[in-house]
């Protein structure tokens, strides 16, 4: 059973790494970004291609940098012009971007499914009481915790983090106080996109790469953000860990309902605590 809880922790921390960018973007830009799954997919494909030349770590770096640049461009060219528009417009535009990204991948990489191996440093298994466990999965837990810790440190201990929190709370007052919210938004969307791209590479040795991967992960990511409280990183972290456990324990104890459980949890949270577990923004 302890191993299954560890399995849940792996999926939960991975989900947080993926969904944290979504929470950040919503916190600052109030944007429901349906293209977030596409950023994850693009990161995986960029990383997969770069890894052929520069190995896993090279692929991870290329995905992070490539997606950061793409994120900044996304903010400047799409999110900024859409500021103040009906949320439905933003939703439709980002949904369109997701579809375009999928077609882009199909055109240049095809519909085939790919997978790439974990780095040699993290391959193999470790012996745990009574069983073995893949080292790479433990590395995913470390990655998720590193992302959570890094973001928490950045947001609470740095000046830029202070600006991000201020602008998330009230962008107008923050701007009046001299915070350049446009530059700040570009930075936050860039960081969020880079995290999604890195999550794509980190997931690749476990979850294969295909054009359908964007849609696959988007639903889980939104469930995390909604349960956690839109825009709340702490809430997203808690929600991701809960969802990870529900995913695993559902398979073990309620296999017929596994696919339904995350949605039931989301419904329950929306009914009893509509603002999510955290109930407040960053």
């Amino acid at each position: 059973m302890l191993i299954q809880i560890l399995n849940g922790l792996v999926y939960g921390t991975f989900l947080f790494a993926m969904a944290s960018g979504l929470a950040l973007m919503f916190g600052l830009r109030r944007i429901v970004n349906f293209a977030h799954g596409a950023l994850y997919m693009l990161g995986a494909y960029f990383g997969y291609t770069a890894a052929k030349l520069a190995g896993f770590w090279g692929g991870l770096l290329v995905a992070a940098l490539g997606l950061a640049v793409l994120g900044v461009a996304l903010d400047i060219l799409v999110f900024r012009p859409l500021r103040g528009r009906d949320p439905l417009t933003t939703l439709l535009v980002t949904f369109g971007l997701a579809l375009i990204s999928e077609d882009f991948i199909q055109t240049f990489w095809g519909n085939d499914t790919h997978s790439f191996a974990e780095p040699a440093l993290l391959s193999g298994v470790v012996q745990l009481p009574g069983t073995t466990f893949p080292i790479y999965r433990l590395a995913i837990v470390a990655f998720g915790i590193l992302v959570a810790g890094g973001l928490a440190f950045w947001l609470t201990r740095s000046k830029v983090g202070l600006y991000v929190r201020a602008a998330s709370h009230d962008p107008v007052i923050a701007a009046v106080q001299g915070v350049d919210t446009d530059r700040l938004s570009a930075l936050v969307v860039g960081v969020g996109a880079a995290l999604a791209g890195m999550a794509g590479v980190v997931a690749a040795p476990i979850l294969s790469i295909s054009p359908a991967m964007a849609a696959d992960i988007l639903v889980d990511s939104f469930i995390v953000v909604v349960i956690g409280g839109l825009g709340s990183l702490g809430g997203a972290f808690a929600a991701a860990l809960i969802l990870g456990q529900i995913n695993v324990l559902g398979v073990v104890f309620l296999p017929e309902l596994t696919a339904l459980l995350p949605f039931l949890l989301m419904m329950a949270v929306l009914i009893w605590r509509p603002t999510g577990l955290a109930g407040s923004r960053v």
């Binding site: 999926y11 095809g110 476990i206 696959d216 995913n247």
Partner: protein
């Protein structure tokens, strides 16, 4: 008076002509319209790609060989995703657009969802991927046919082989829908007959990302053998993750649609040595297969995979039935398909059994091995169609 008689006589003469038996069927003109409802997106999108390649290839070949006596083939693709309801809608749209000869659905649940509507739509569905026995058993009908191997056909090969295996305790890991459930049920029966102990059965929905909880459950069972019935991208995810957990080193995996060319490519070296049903191999030693493989490689610069080959044979049957019927009207094509034999296919002679609409053809078993530098399913055992195709299921009542 004269005019009235002429008016009366003309339709009567036409009706008599149509009703007269023994006259050659009225040859239609215009293209033969094929509706291809398949998975263009979602976890089975790469299988949908295989269907697309096979349909375009077969249509091109039929045009070049004049199979349809001068008629051309017009095909329309529609995204059936993986959901039965989406498949039903996509197929209905194709039918309303005049594409009444349907092919291409990936999951058996989709085939079953469409199968029940065919009479109402005045359409025909020829399955080339769906394995669930139900299609040719209790859900069979006059408008639904299957040109690929069913679960029962695969198990007719597995059953006797299983008896010879030393592994005593087995587990099942299958996809949680009609095909996976059907496959698990068939394997359970085969294991019982072979005197094996089935310890547990696990099912995962289509599109499952993390198989870790299932893999841990399988490890906890400490079984020696594992029947795997997962396909497409899910198969790659399960295979890769099972290997990371060290499961593939401690258990003997035998599979159905799990280690096929498409998934072997995705899994890489870990697929080597996995045993399973091989519904088709590009190494089949028939003249038609050699010609097919050469033409396929020229067209797509790759070897044909199992679902591509089975869909190709299905299309050949469909075109032959249209030619025999002299019409692409679904009812007439269905009649022409019943009992239709093709002598020279990639599998050798095949026959569409009239009783349950299952194609009688050989089946194979083997393991993934190196052919040159490439990993491929390598046939170790071939079973003739007469043995590999079990008798029609008594629950099939044609209606």
């Amino acid at each position: 008076m004269k005019h009235s008689l002429i008016k009366l006589a003309a339709p009567l003469a036409l009706a008599a002509l149509v009703a007269l038996p023994g006259l050659p069927a009225y040859a239609q003109s215009g293209p033969v319209k094929i509706g291809v409802a398949t998975s263009l997106t979602g976890p089975y999108a790469d299988l949908g790609e295989e269907v697309k390649r096979a349909v375009t290839f077969a249509a091109k070949e039929a045009a070049a060989k004049g199979t349809l006596k001068g008629r051309t083939v017009q095909y329309e693709f529609a995204d059936a995703e993986t959901d039965p309801e989406v498949a039903r809608r996509a197929s209905e749209k194709l039918v309303l657009g005049g594409y009444k000869l349907l092919v291409g659905l990936i999951s058996s649940a989709q085939g079953l969802a469409v199968g029940g509507q065919l009479e109402k739509w005045d359409a025909l569905y020829l399955a080339t991927i769906n394995k669930s026995n139900k299609l040719t058993a209790d859900a069979c009908n006059t408008r639904m046919f299957r040109a690929n191997h069913s679960d029962a056909m695969d198990m007719a090969v597995i059953g006797p082989w299983l008896k010879s295996r030393p592994e005593k305790d087995w587990v099942i890991m299958a996809a949680d829908y009609a095909w996976g459930r059907d496959s698990a049920e068939e394997f359970t029966k085969a294991a019982k007959v072979a005197g094996k102990n089935l310890k547990a059965s696990y099912f995962a929905p289509i599109g499952t990302k993390d198989y870790a909880p299932h893999i841990q459950q399988i490890k906890d069972q400490k079984a020696q053998g594992m029947w795997v019935a997962i396909s497409g991208r899910d198969a790659i995810n399960f295979g890769v993750q099972a290997d990371q957990f060290g499961l593939l080193k401690t258990i003997f995996p035998v599979s159905q649609s799990f280690a096929v060319p498409l998934t072997i490519k995705g899994m890489g070296p870990i697929a080597e040595g996995i045993w399973g049903i091989i519904n088709y191999s590009d190494g089949l030693d028939t003249p038609a297969n050699k010609a097919f493989v050469a033409a396929w490689k020229k067209e797509f610069n790759r070897d044909p995979a199992n679902f591509e080959a089975e869909t190709y044979v299905g299309m050949q049957l469909l075109f032959a039935a249209v030619a025999k019927a002299g019409s692409d009207e679904p009812e007439k094509v269905a009649k022409a398909l019943e009992g239709l034999s093709l002598d020279d296919t990639i599998f050798g002679k095949v026959t569409m059994r009239a009783q349950d609409h299952q194609l009688i053809m050989p089946n194979y078993m083997g393991k993934v091995g190196k052919v040159g530098a490439e990993l491929k399913p390598v046939i170790e055992m071939a079973v003739d169609g007469s043995i590999a195709t079990p008798a029609p299921d008594p629950s099939c009542k044609m209606k």
